[in-house]
Every structure is written in structure tokens, then in C-alpha cells.
């Protein structure tokens, strides 16, 4: 199952993004948005085992947005809940389309960006970012944990915690700069830019059924929305 639904082809992703966003802009009924979200977008997350990341986005991004819509449009502007739900559903589908567009696995990154015609310095920066993000996030976590362990953050009130940010950032930036110096030396020796320009692209392992399904349903969504 995991291998069959390996991924969406990079070109299919671009078509899906264009069709999905246009469809969402023109969608004027909550039913259309809900059906598209339930039968095209959610199955994608289920099949690719990324439902948890989508649920996190729903909880930490959309729940606060929904509450602030209630505050602004129901409490302050006297609109009804129907209007608020429609606006939030539109935002949710819009964001989910973007989330799916960018949801590729680490071993697909280089081929996906090459297919999207990224090259040279920009491609190197993008791939470099993917490779260092985890390290830096782990480092920042270590620094915060160390400061807690040493008792620098005794009372967890807002003022004390804000005061800890600068002290946390100095070592983090020093680590980043030192790593950059080491990496630049190694990249220069390896001649990374030439290596990247001579990269042999693999044949994309994609399952046509998932590509066809996502394209047909998104086109249908656009047509109905128009």
C-alpha cells in the first residue's frame, strides 16, 4: 500500500494546486467545499499516513481562526454562524490544497525540485534547508532543556521566559555559523554545484490511479464551483 501510493507526480502537483485553488476561490457553497475536503483531500492524508499532521494543522491553526471568526463576525459584526463556517471552510480547503502540494517525502525532494526546474544556488539552498532543519530544531531544544536543567528558568512566568530567549539564541546562532563554515569548506571540496547539475533524475515512482483520482476530482470540484 505504502509503495503503491508512493507519491503524486510533480507535474500533477502543479495542476492540482492550480485547479484546487481556483476551485476554492469560486466555491460558493459549504457543501461543495466539505465534499471535496472529505472525499479527495482527507483520503490523501489517510493513504499517505499524514493524517496526524493535518489534524495538528486543524487544531492549532484552524480552531483559533474559527474562534476569531466567531469573535469578529458573530459577536462584533452580527453575521450568522453559516457565514463564519463557510469562510473558515474555504480557508481550510485552501490551506489543505497547499499542504498536499508540499507534502513530499525526504527521498523525493531533489527529483521534485528538479522537475519543477529549480537549479543552481537556489536548489542547493532549498535542499540544504531540508537537511539542517532537524539538526537546528534539536539543538534549540537541547539549549532550552539545558537552561531548564541548570535552573535558569525557575519561575515560568512570561517575563522570565522572554528573558531567556536572547541567551538561548546566542549559542544557537554561534552553532549555525560554525556549522556553515565547516559545511562551506566541505561543499567547496566536493564541488556541490557541479554534483547537483549532473544529478541523474530517477523515473518517478508514482501510481497513476492516485494521480488520475486527484486530478479528476479536483477538476470536477472546479467545474461545480464555477
Amino acid at each position: 500500500m505504502k509503495d503503491v501510493f508512493y507519491s503524486i507526480h510533480p507535474y500533477t502537483r502543479i495542476c492540482f494546486l492550480a485547479l484546487g485553488i481556483t476551485g476554492t476561490i469560486f466555491a460558493n457553497r459549504i457543501t461543495i467545499l466539505s465534499l471535496y475536503w472529505l472525499f479527495t483531500l482527507i483520503p490523501f492524508f489517510v493513504i499517505n499516513r499524514k493524517l496526524v499532521s493535518h489534524i495538528k494543522v486543524l487544531l492549532f491553526v484552524f480552531l483559533p481562526i474559527y474562534l476569531s471568526y466567531i469573535l469578529i463576525y458573530v459577536w462584533a459584526s452580527k453575521f450568522g454562524f453559516d457565514y463564519v463556517s463557510f469562510r473558515v471552510a474555504k480557508l481550510m480547503v485552501f490551506a489543505t490544497v497547499i499542504q498536499i502540494f508540499f507534502s513530499f517525502k525526504s527521498n523525493e525532494q531533489i527529483d521534485t525540485f528538479l522537475k519543477w526546474k529549480f537549479k543552481g544556488n537556489l536548489l542547493l539552498v532549498i535542499l540544504g534547508t531540508f537537511s539542517v532543519i532537524d539538526d537546528i530544531v534539536k539543538q534549540s531544544d537541547k539549549i532550552v532543556t539545558a537552561r531548564y536543567a541548570r535552573g535558569f528558568i525557575k519561575d515560568r512566568n512570561i517575563y522570565n521566559t522572554i528573558k531567556q530567549i536572547p541567551q538561548t539564541l546566542v549559542p544557537l546562532f554561534a552553532i549555525a555559523i560554525r556549522t556553515s563554515i565547516e559545511r562551506s569548506d566541505s561543499w567547496e571540496r566536493k564541488d556541490m554545484l557541479s554534483l547537483l547539475s549532473n544529478w541523474e533524475q530517477k523515473r518517478y515512482r508514482t501510481h497513476y490511479l492516485s494521480d488520475i483520482w486527484i486530478l479528476i476530482t479536483t477538476t470536477l470540484y472546479l467545474v461545480i464551483s464555477l
Partner: protein
Amino acid sequence: MNAISKTQQNFFKLTLIPLSIAVNIGIGLIVKSLNLPIYLDSIGTIISTILFGWQIGLITGVLSFVFTTILSLNPFAIFFSGTQAAIAILIYILAHKGWFKKTYSTIFSGIIVGAIAAIVSMPVIYYLFGGATGNGASIIVAYFINKGLSPVNSIVISGFIVEPIDKTIQILIAIYVVKNLPTKLVTTISNNDLIKRLKSAK
């Protein structure tokens, strides 16, 4: 540590941008883990701009927000990347005018950066979110709409209230970080007079 060669400088920039982006995202996660009611999402951009110029700062800021979207941390962050570009350019200008030497001028520059950030973000907040971004600023927007102001005016006023506070804190933190970075490390990577002046300023 000796100063690095010109060819290595080019590769250094290529390796530094991803690390600065990662630091920007890392800071966001620290803020999240500490449950702070502020964004602090531009500190990496401000530090990169002061240390390495507006181009690196701009690329760092814009790509940080693109990656925040790619990594599913916030699917809408990508739409605020224009604000990051504006912040990088403005920080570069203010730093070169010497506005970060004294605390009071740093605070004043934070207010200016915040006001500009509010203006640049306003179209995204209005057209995409209708003012309801899901953070504390939405409460201020709701308050002013309830008082009879139009949504556009309410968004502008809430931006002018929230952004200068947030950006002033971020600039003060960024200046502290730049001043406290090991001098040897900074001189290795950058022959920037601005950093020397900042480090010598009280």
C-alpha cells in the same frame, strides 16, 4: 580561526542561508514551547540582515516563511513572506543609518519596522483572513469593529498596536545576540564595519 577565502565565502552564504532559515523556524518552535504570546518570527531575518546584508536577510526571511508552509507548521505563512522582505530591507537601512547604536533609537526603529510590517501585512490579513487570523490581534480587530469602525480600519489599528511591540522586542533581542556572538567567529565570517560598531556600542 582564519578569515575564509572568496570561493569559500560563496559556499558559506549558500550554507548559511539554510541554517538561518532553520534558526528562524527553531526560534518559532522555542516560542511555541515556552507558550509566549508573541510571534518572534523575524529574529533570524533581523540577525542575518545585520550580519550579512540585506540580500541574505531577505532570502532568509522569505524562505523561512515558505518553509514554515512546506513543513506544515502554518499553511498561511507563505503569504506573509512579503512582510519579511520589507523587514530585511528596512533593518538594513536603519542599521546603516546607525539607529541600533542607542537603546532609545533601537526602540524607535522597532516602532517604525512594526508600522511598516503592519501596512505590508494588511492586504493579506484583510483579503485572505477577513481580519480573523486566529491570534491575539483578532480580539483587537473585533473590539474596534464592535465600536463601529470598518474592518479595514480595525485591521490597520490592531496592526499598529501589536506589530510595533512585537518588532521592538525582536530587534532588541537580535541586537543583544549580535553583540554577544563571539568576536572571533564574527570577524571570521564578516568584515562588516556595522557589526564592529554595534559590538563596541554600549
